[in-house]
């Protein structure tokens, strides 16, 4: 078992070369935030969260452990598949079927003395804000946009302007074949993942009628089986893309259809690839991107050199498709970003007001002047001007008081108005009687 408390002083030789980087200022080090004598101790006690223990995650865990981080946590909901073994080097054949997070954690602990890695074999959504609050740094090696958006929104939501420790830098790596990206997000300070969503190329879709009537490629036959035949025949209650029996059903259906239209090339593995949207992974691209991410982690934790995101560039793209090309640039924050933009403004109100009185006050406020406001909270539709059916359903709310509607001091409300088609107003109710 690895022991958690190995003081750097007891093993100076081991970190000699790392120390010559992290304990000495360079020409661009910001003197106001750098203190070389406490760096090693700070990195040792800092809690770092790694999300994903796959292709990028294996590299990230190894790199962090060898960079002097000693309290590392890792979340991954997946189990090890035999197809992972060519690049996810912390896993062996006998590990197939076991939790990625647990096997990766044990492996790195065994190889790097003094590091403690805490695995979580579950979804990131299984944890609440309190869990994420304990970390000082989050590094993602994910393959899904959905998970990135979730953790991004969670970290932005944690920010409390009065609590220094509520700001968690987020480092995000991603790869696709020979291409990749590394970016750093300082929640509410720099552009966030939601601001940068347009950087993701959407998955090319084939028109439904092509699938239904004139397939030309093996992929069309597979998509037909997946999108149309499955729904018509429903061979199993719910499609499980990891169940070989389900994939085999789709494969046979696709094969029949391909025969009918004389299309060669439908195979079991292509079926799996199309249905699960598998993109070929290249081990070396993962290494390049993970290395970039972990160098940023080292710089953010030690302040020994300026990191990505401070103050200018926050996004590094890498392309190995045609020679090597990398470019680093600043992605601007979006003022109307639904996650990090539009910090809610205070709106004076009274619990005894009716909703109508609140809306009237919005029309009167000089900075708002909202004459046809529609108002919602995250869970409740308070009043919508349109469409007519929703207006009718929410009209009775107008004569209820804010207290009756369950609105508390501090409640955030979202207001839209057709006069400001592109603007979304966020307000935070401030009750006078407090």
């Amino acid at each position: 078992m690895a022991s958690a408390n190995v003081h750097p002083a007891s093993e100076p030789a081991r970190w000699k070369y790392l120390d010559s980087v992290r304990t000495r200022p360079g020409p661009f080090t910001d003197a106001s935030t750098f203190n070389g004598s406490v760096v090693a101790r700070a990195m040792e006690t800092m809690k770092v969260l790694v999300i994903g223990a796959g292709g990028l995650g294996c590299e990230i865990l190894k790199n962090l452990a060898l960079s002097g981080f000693k309290d590392i946590h890792v979340i991954d909901m997946d189990t090890i598949d035999i197809s992972n073994l060519n690049r996810q080097f912390l896993f062996r054949q006998e590990d197939v079927g076991k939790s990625k997070a647990e096997v990766a954690a044990r492996f790195v602990e065994k190889r790097v003395r003094g590091v403690r890695i805490t695995p979580y074999n579950c979804k990131i959504q299984d944890f609440d804000e309190d869990f994420y609050m304990q970390f000082q740094l989050v590094i993602c090696g994910l393959d899904s946009i959905e998970a990135r958006r979730w953790i991004n929104a969670t970290l932005v939501g944690l920010v409390d302007e009065n609590i220094e420790d509520s700001y968690k830098p987020l480092i995000d790596g991603g790869t696709e074949g020979f291409k990749g990206q590394a970016r750093v997000i300082f929640p509410t300070v720099t552009s966030c993942i939601e601001c940068q969503l347009d950087m993701h190329a959407p998955r090319a879709a084939v028109p439904l009628c092509t699938l239904a009537s004139i397939p030309r490629q093996p992929e069309h036959c597979i998509e037909w089986a997946h999108v149309i035949a499955w729904d018509q025949e429903k061979p199993f209650p719910q499609l499980d893309k990891d169940d070989p029996e389900h994939i085999n059903w789709l494969y046979q259906k696709a094969l029949d259809r391909a025969r009918e239209f004389n299309i060669p090339g439908v195979t079991y593995s292509l079926t799996q690839g199309v249905v699960k949207n598998i993109i070929p992974a290249i081990a070396s691209t993962n290494s390049v991107i993970a290395a970039a991410c972990c160098n940023e982690a080292l710089k953010i934790a030690s302040n020994c050199a300026p990191s990505l995101g401070l103050p200018d560039a926050n996004y590094m793209m890498y392309s190995g498709n045609d020679g090597i090309y990398t470019y680093t640039f600043r992605h601007e924050r979006k003022d109307d970003c639904p996650v990090c933009g539009g910090q809610a403004r205070d709106l004076p109100a009274d619990a005894a007001w009716t909703l109508r009185e609140l809306l009237d006050s919005l029309a009167a406020r000089p900075e708002a002047q909202l004459r046809q406001p529609s108002v919602r909270t995250a869970t409740k539709t308070l009043y919508m001007q349109l469409p007519p059916s929703l207006e009718e359903q929410t009209r009775p709310n107008l004569d209820k008081t804010l207290a009756e509607l369950g609105l508390d001091h501090g409640q955030e409300i979202v207001v839209t108005d057709p006069a400001f088609a592109t603007v979304i107003f966020m307000f935070k109710l401030k009750f006078k009687s407090r």
Binding site: D30, S32, T33, E146, R149, G157, E161, N162, I163, E164, Y167, P169, F186, T188, V189, L197, D198, A204, A205, V206, P207, L208, C209, A212, S213, V227, I228, D231, Q232, I300, N303, L310, P311, P338, V339, D346, S374, R376, T377, A378, T379, T381, M384, L386, P387, P388, S389, L390, Q393, T394, H409, G410, Q411, E412, V414, T416, P418, A421, I424, K428
Partner: protein, 187 residues
């Protein structure tokens, strides 16, 4: 220790010239990006007098039903309903739209799937819910034989327009066309 804190403080100093800090409000469930966008899109819907909506749960604006009653064209006299389900990925993914009746239409299959380019391959985040309902309305005014989902209906439309019209009337009345029985949708 982390530089982000000092950065944030400087940013704030630049932004506001001294408003007293307020006690932090308890953390509330945040409004999602999809909700924000749908709230804005709904206020821009132009339903005219041929369309209405129904919200089974007014607090959940991500799920609703759209009714279309075409006032011209071959489908005049029918009332068609579509379920709209907006996923958390909206507007980066299109809303999921299904026809709730089994109808005879070249671009809608008997499961209710709709072949409308902006619901799939040509969806862009700049499009909104209004673009979708305009597209759906158009399908009833100009059914399109070159994008068939119901192949028989498309063949009929292409080869025998008058026969197709008769089939539409028959199917809308709850009759059988080419061995397939359709749902009555006449108002």
């Amino acid at each position: 220790m982390l530089k982000i804190w000092s950065m944030k403080k400087e940013q704030e100093k630049a932004e506001n010239a001294g408003e007293g800090t307020t006690a932090p409000a308890p953390k509330k469930k945040r409004v999602t990006a999809a909700q924000l966008r749908v709230q804005r899109d709904l206020a821009e819907l132009s339903l005219g007098n041929t369309m209405t909506t129904e919200f089974p749960d007014p607090d959940n604006i991500l799920s609703f039903i759209l009714y279309i009653e075409p006032d011209e064209g071959m489908y005049k006299g029918g009332r068609f309903s579509f379920s709209f389900n907006v996923t958390p990925a909206f507007p980066h993914e299109p809303p999921k739209v299904l026809c709730r009746e089994k109808i005879y239409h070249p671009n809608i299959d008997t499961e209710g799937k709709v072949c409308l380019n902006i619901l799939r391959e040509d969806w862009k985040p700049v499009l909104n819910l209004n673009a979708v309902i305009v597209g759906l309305q158009f399908l009833f005014l100009e059914p399109n034989a070159s994008d068939p989902l119901n192949k028989e209906a498309a063949d009929d439309l292409r080869n025998n327009r008058d026969g197709f019209k008769r089939n539409v009337r028959q199917a809308m009345a709850g009759g059988t066309v080419r061995g397939e029985t359709y749902q009555r949708v006449l108002v």
